[in-house]
């Protein structure tokens, strides 16, 4: 019962948050002279009347509150509106983009968790060793390497030479898993590595710190005193307790990333939510921008709910209220 009550309350607050985000985004973008789109549609030689006509057709000449009302009305009915430039439904655009962004995120998450947690746990259990120093240096290196630089360097140092020598497995751009798992992996591997490098650094740091803290606690000494094998002490007692901050970070990261892996998508031409939101921003395509912002916010809200649920599962001291 408590779980149902918890979910109902969180979903309701989540909807309120989304409404606030929608309103903020709407007024941020609409409460200013929006000539860019009309001018682009009309062409360079357009007269003032043509531009005015286009604006009227797009509904941009109505009072702002009327526009806001129409916007909310459509939103409640699950309609995010239509792209200014080609009239395509924003719902359709989002439906096309989600698998692309999700492809990048899913593989990236697996990769960075394996590397980040693995290195983090090894460093914490061998604190001060050569491995630990080396990994700390690697973490700072990973954090210092901007995503777009790493992405471009990978294209330059891996993609280009391989394809020059006729090895065409690794490609850029997007391929869906329905074209064959091999093709999909070949297209996605560089984005995964790019995304995972920065994130693995973050997770190594986080899990190392958290595990070092945990290993200093009394219950670990108790477990050792009981004569448990070290492996069991570390994994069953240490890692499990140390995972809570990692889980909360993971939830937030996945939620944020599903809302668009902007730079990685742009570098590799994935054409998912991230890349399309940059395009929409540049083109001043308001319905698409607001659709993406709402989508991103919805993912963050959902991720927070999942994280709180996961906390209760991982740590018996946490109660959901």
């Amino acid at each position: 019962m408590t779980i149902v009550r918890f979910l109902v309350r969180r979903v309701i607050t989540g909807i309120v948050v989304l409404w606030l985000v929608a309103t903020a985004a709407f007024f941020l973008f609409f409460a200013r002279p929006t000539n860019t789109v009309a001018r682009e549609l009309a062409g360079k030689a357009a007269t003032a009347q043509t531009i005015q006509l286009i604006k009227k057709n797009l509904g941009l000449t109505q009072p702002i509150l009327v526009q806001y009302w129409h916007f909310l009305d459509k939103l409640v009915h699950g309609n995010l509106g239509y792209s200014y430039l080609d009239g395509e439904s924003v719902n359709t655009i989002i439906a096309q983009d989600i698998p692309r962004t999700a492809s990048v995120v899913v593989g990236g998450v697996v990769l960075w968790l394996v590397v980040g947690l693995g290195v983090g746990i090894l460093s914490a259990t061998r604190a001060r060793s050569f491995f630990d120093r080396f990994s700390t240096f690697g973490v700072l290196g990973g954090l210092s390497l901007p995503t777009f630089v790493l992405g471009e360097l990978l294209l330059f140092a891996v993609f280009l030479p391989l394809n020059k020598h006729g090895i065409t497995f690794i490609q850029d751009g997007y391929a869906s898993p329905s074209q064959g798992i091999g093709t999909w992996v070949g297209h996605m591997i560089l984005p995964w590595v790019t995304l995972a490098t920065v994130q693995a650094a973050v997770y190594t740091r986080l899990s190392r710190g958290s595990l070092l803290d945990t290993l200093g606690e009394d219950f670990i000494r108790t477990a050792r005193a009981k004569g448990l094998p070290e492996r069991r002490v570390i994994f069953r007692h240490g890692v499990r307790a140390a995972l809570t901050p990692v889980v909360s970070q993971l939830g937030i990261d996945v939620g944020t990333l599903l809302g668009g892996v902007v730079v990685t998508e742009v570098v590799f031409g994935i054409g998912g939510i991230g890349q399309d939101s940059v395009t929409a921003v540049v083109q001043d395509n308001l319905p698409v921008i607001i659709g993406f912002v709402l989508l991103a916010a919805a993912f963050v809200v959902a991720a927070n709910i999942v994280v709180d649920l996961a906390y209760a599962l991982l740590d018996p001291r946490v109660r959901i209220t």
Binding site: V202, G260, V278
Partner: protein, 346 residues
């Protein structure tokens, strides 16, 4: 002499004591001494100083090579339009418009370092003021500020940054405003936490009991104790800000061409790296070396500030023991500074 009270006697004794006996060392002196022995931190500091010197000397190098930062040279591109590689004329090669890459990287360093240092300084000032106010006054002031900080930290900043850049028009001041907006919140959160614990200390109570104003307590009694963590945070925020600017410029919404910045140099390199490796590699190296140096220096300062924290790079005996003690004493782990995220956008 029997009229001498005990206090006067002590004072006389103190005056007559040999002067060189024991010299108190301030926290900053101790930090400096430890930092000096940290080779990695010193090396990083030197790298940063060299970068700053090169950035300041950019016009000198432009004069020396005879290549202005935005000047185009026919000799810079081959007949087929491919940029000329590194050599005597163009030390690090040229770009697709025949401009000198070396000179452009140096001028880009001016932008990057200026943006990194200035936005961090402003962000730190705002963060300290907000965090102090929230932590010291508590109540509704704290609630409002803390929620606002949460909101800023939770926002999908890269999209908002892009949107703001478009709404306000991309330019250097706008980029700096955006970066500052996202940098103060993390500092405010740490400062608030520290203020909450410091304001319960006895000496603050003592200050209040002698009638010190809130203003005085906040800025004279509490703030000096915050400078350590803020300095560490600031050193680590500078590379984040540099990467943030480079990312915005890379996406075409930061510093606008022809003004060079590391971000828009790399953006330009995107279509040429298959024929001109230097165009990609050298700006990338400049960016990487600078951010890495700031990160290593920040890590070193943090280790030097707090003798309890783990000192990965500094040698010494009994490290393992100290490590355990640090962990069990609840010493702030690195991530207590909330620096687990990379604000450059992914």
């Amino acid at each position: 002499m029997s009229s001498v009270t005990e206090l006067e006697f002590q004072a006389q004794a103190a005056e007559s004591a040999p002067e060189q006996a024991i010299e108190g060392r301030s926290q900053w002196q101790l930090t400096w001494r430890r930092l000096r022995h940290d080779k990695v931190a010193v090396g990083s500091g030197v790298v940063i100083l060299v970068m700053v010197a090169l950035a300041i000397a950019a016009p000198a190098f432009a004069a020396l090579t005879g290549h202005g930062p935005t000047q185009q040279f026919n000799s810079g591109t081959a007949l087929n339009g491919i940029p000329v590689g590194p050599g005597r004329a163009f030390w690090l090669g040229a770009d697709e418009q025949g401009r000198d890459l070396f000179v452009r990287i140096l001028y880009g360093a001016r932008v990057s370092l200026f943006v990194g240092i200035v936005t961090t300084a402003i962000g730190a000032a705002i963060g300290v003021a907000a965090g102090l106010t929230a932590g010291y006054f508590g109540g509704w002031v704290d609630t409002v500020l803390a929620r606002f900080v949460d909101a800023v930290l939770a926002f999908p900043y890269i999209v908002l940054a892009l949107a703001l850049a478009v709404v306000l028009g991309p330019s250097l001041p706008v980029v700096m405003g955006i970066i500052t907006f996202f940098s103060w919140a993390g500092i405010a959160r740490i400062v608030r936490g520290q203020t909450l614990s410091i304001k319960e200390k006895e000496y603050i109570e003592a200050a209040r009991s002698v009638g010190a104003s809130s203003w005085r307590i906040m800025f004279v009694d509490i703030m000096p104790n915050l400078l350590g963590p803020v300095l560490v945070l600031a050193t680590l925020y500078i590379p984040t800000a540099i990467v943030f600017e480079a990312t915005l410029s890379f996406l075409g919404l930061g510093v606008q061409p022809p003004t060079p910045s590391w971000g828009n140099l790399l953006s330009g390199a995107e279509s040429y790296y298959n024929v001109a490796w230097w165009y990609l590699v050298f700006p990338a190296l400049a960016l990487f070396i600078t951010t890495l140096a700031f990160n290593l220096l920040g890590d070193g300062i943090r280790d030097a500030m707090d003798p309890r924290t783990e000192r990965i790079f500094a040698a010494g005996r009994g490290r393992r023991r100290r490590d355990r003690e640090a962990a069990s004493a609840g010493a702030a782990p690195k991530d207590a500074y909330g620096l687990t995220g990379q604000a450059g956008g992914i």
